[in-house]
């Protein structure tokens, strides 16, 4: 490998890190802004939802599974995949269940007050 190629390799690694850091920082800022605007009513389902989202770490497990060195690693990752999958399944389902409780109640209340019920946006 020529010196030039080596330098290029290092550079790419550095750029990757910088890009990843940039993504991390921007996503954190975006996240804090988005969460600030979440209604306090929904903080519990929000937590269930973000927890399910972060279980996208299942992807990391899959990447390691693409090329595991030995059975021990396969075993560890399989446990991790099962744990993350549990979070994904129960996280989205329970968020849905909680949100449904909030949603259903809205309409009769509005009708009681004689307000016009806005058309359901689907």
């Amino acid at each position: 490998m020529s010196v030039r190629e080596k330098v290029k390799l290092v550079d790419t690694a550095q750029t990757d890190l910088a890009v990843n850091l940039l993504i991390f920082i921007l996503a954190t800022f975006l996240g804090t802004e988005l969460i600030r605007h979440v209604s306090r009513l929904l903080h519990t389902p929000l937590m269930a939802l973000t927890n399910a989202i972060s279980s996208v770490s299942i992807v990391a497990g899959l990447i390691v599974l693409a090329n595991p060195k030995n059975d021990f690693i396969t075993l560890l990752v399989s446990v991790a995949v099962a744990l993350a999958a549990t979070n994904i399944v129960s996280g989205f389902m329970i968020t849905e269940r909680i949100l449904r409780m909030f949603r259903v109640r809205k309409q009769p209340q509005q009708q009681d007050k004689g307000k016009t019920v806005p058309a359901e946006k689907k």
Binding site: N51, S57, L83, N87
Partner: protein, 460 residues
């Protein structure tokens, strides 16, 4: 070609995750948000399968079968009062998953592993493992498997801090000597121990903040894994989760007028012993004790009633009878609202979910800042299972441990009905001034029973 498709699938997944949080900002669009996130998840998994040509789809399917067997019954059957426990458990699962993948990645990569990767992996493993035990203890406390009281002993802070210092020290050692793989289990053990010690020292009422902090840690460790694997979806999802936990923790600790550090290492336990002495030293003050029939009479003569729910409501499962009583009042033309303190309950938003379960319309749920100006015009405030968040000492007594904490100004209502099992002080260990006010009616008994009796008395 394949790579391009995969890259754009990841972009799509990220967009869906961001949109889902955007849609969570209001009830109307929140369900759409959940579906967006779920779709993002499916796309991210599909993209990964495409990109890495993974042979072991059997393990993925197996994982989801196990996940469905454990997760579906929990999601469908779990009573809403137990949502904080489930949240703690899901943080435990998530962080353990991340930590285990971190460990596997490390052993898979050595000996060809660079310093940066080792550094991030060490940090990620420490965070993951400490979040795991911390969340397990939080779960055990919330579920009542162990006492919710903080475990306080002399030198606790020194012990905790040296545990984490050793874990971090071992992490640094590993960065310098990346091939010393036998350091990893020891480092993990110290991180696990620290998480255990950290949450053992925290009491029940601080759980909302702690759960939010554990949420932030779990997200942060997932983002760390994203750096190691150069996977941008993971970085974004992890940092969204991390910032969510962080913001919730900020909101919770502001609502208690305390800093994170104070919640984690603070002296709540220390004040318990001190205030107990104060309580015994004080001359006995009298409270006025009333019956559910008296409450019914007061309610019938009221025009505006505000319910103040707290953790006790969850414990006695009184949310449905509260709603029943509220319906009777509304039928009589009485205005009913619910005052929700940000830290009422055991996790952020806990009370809202309980009341939503009991079919309370969410426009009757009022946040602290909005309801406080209305208390002077409120005829009856009914405190159900809340305590410290109503203590006027937080406004008036500079020497009180609660001083400065934003509270619900329940004492300003014309009549306060305080339903309570006994005269024991709240979590903070501080006696509630509210009990002794002339306009306070103490009703002793289980919240659900008292309210059921009140409903019965109203029907007469």
């Amino acid at each position: 070609m394949n790579d391009t498709i995969v890259a754009y699938m990841y972009v799509l997944a990220v967009v869906l995750f961001v949109l889902s949080l955007r849609w969570m900002s209001e009830v109307k669009t929140s369900q759409r948000g959940n579906w967006a996130a779920a779709s993002g998840m499916v796309i991210a998994i599909a993209a990964t399968l495409l990109a890495y040509q993974i042979q072991r789809t059997d393990l993925l399917i197996g994982g989801f079968v196990v996940g469905a067997i454990i997760g579906v019954p929990i999601a469908l059957k779990l009573p809403m009062t137990a949502v904080p426990q489930r949240t703690a458990m899901s943080h435990a699962f998530g962080s353990l998953a991340v930590a285990l993948v971190g460990v596997s990645e490390y052993y898979n990569d050595i000996p060809k592993i660079d310093t940066f990767t080792v550094a991030v992996l060490s940090a990620e493993m420490i965070l993951g493992f400490l979040t795991f035990t911390g969340s397990c203890i939080a779960f055990a406390k919330l579920q009542g498997l162990i006492s919710g009281k903080p475990l306080i002993y002399r030198g606790r802070i020194v012990v905790s801090l040296s545990t984490i210092a050793i874990a971090i020290g071992l992490g640094v050692y590993l960065v310098i000597n990346p091939l010393q793989s036998n350091v990893v289990p020891i480092m993990a053990a110290f991180a696990l121990l620290f998480g255990f010690l950290l949450v053992m020292a925290i009491g029940g009422a601080d759980m909302p903040t702690v759960i939010a902090i554990l949420n932030a840690y779990a997200g942060l460790s997932a983002a760390g894994l994203g750096f190691v694997l150069d996977n941008k979806v993971l970085i974004v999802a992890g940092s969204l989760d991390g910032s969510s936990g962080f913001i919730l923790a900020v909101i919770m600790s502001q609502a208690m007028n305390r800093s994170f550090l104070n919640v984690l290492f603070g002296g709540v336990g220390a004040t318990i012993s001190k205030s107990e002495k104060e309580v015994t030293a004080q001359p006995a003050r009298t409270v006025q004790s009333y019956t559910p029939e008296d409450v019914a009479t007061v309610i019938e003569n009221a025009r505006t009633v505000v319910f103040v729910p707290g953790y006790g409501l969850a414990v006695s499962q009184a949310q449905h009878v509260v709603k029943e009583l509220a319906d009777m009042m509304q039928a009589k033309g009485i205005d009913v609202k619910y005052a929700i303190h940000p830290v009422a309950g055991r996790m952020p938003g806990h009370m809202n979910v309980l009341l939503a379960e009991a079919q309370v319309p969410y426009d009757q749920l009022w946040e602290m800042d909005r309801i406080n100006p209305l208390f002077p015009e409120t005829d009856v405030a009914i405190v159900v299972g809340a305590n410290d968040v109503t203590n006027p000492a937080a406004r008036t007594k500079p020497d009180s441990p609660l001083y400065g904490m934003p509270i619900l100004d329940v004492d300003k209502a014309r009549t306060v009905v305080f339903i309570k099992r006994s005269m024991s002080p709240g979590f903070s260990g501080v006696d509630n001034e509210l009990f002794y006010l002339p306009n306070t009616m103490m009703v002793f008994g289980d919240a659900k029973k008292v309210l059921t009796d009140t409903v019965a008395a109203m029907k007469k």
